[in-house]
Symmetry: C2
Subunit: 90 residues, 2 copies
Amino acid sequence: MPQEKNVMWLAKIIVTLKPVVNDPQGLAIKGGLHSLGFGGVQSVRAGKYIEIVLEAADKADAEGQVDAMCDKLLANPVIETYRFEVQKTE
Amino acid sequence: MPQEKNVMWLAKIIVTLKPVVNDPQGLAIKGGLHSLGFGGVQSVRAGKYIEIVLEAADKADAEGQVDAMCDKLLANPVIETYRFEVQKTE
């Protein structure tokens, strides 16, 4: 009898600071790029990228879990926003 | 007489650790997610996300600049890889 197995999902998550929030890391990168001669750089915003492999019954379940992870741990909802996509993986 | 102007480009850059490189930040996130009850999480890899607005004559110029920025400042080629996409912006 075939046994039902959960599928593995790969979530690619991008967490960014909200536009109104000051971004010292981005400013530092911008300064560094200018020093290196990249004078055409107008602005830099720094964020986080996280890849998670998780087990879930279906895509909706995986997306719900990742959404909860972002809310609870990965992003600070006061100053950050997040977006992600989920795809089947092995 | 219309004056030729450079166009603004938005580059979205993702910098990730190479697969063979140990990722303590990812492991810490994984531990945190398990503690929060997300037992289905198999692996976590942490990386950086950077958005740069730059001035360039055309898309090839913009891509060439961003590639050079990644090589020189944004990524450590010994342990990290990067990928990016460039699109026209205002």
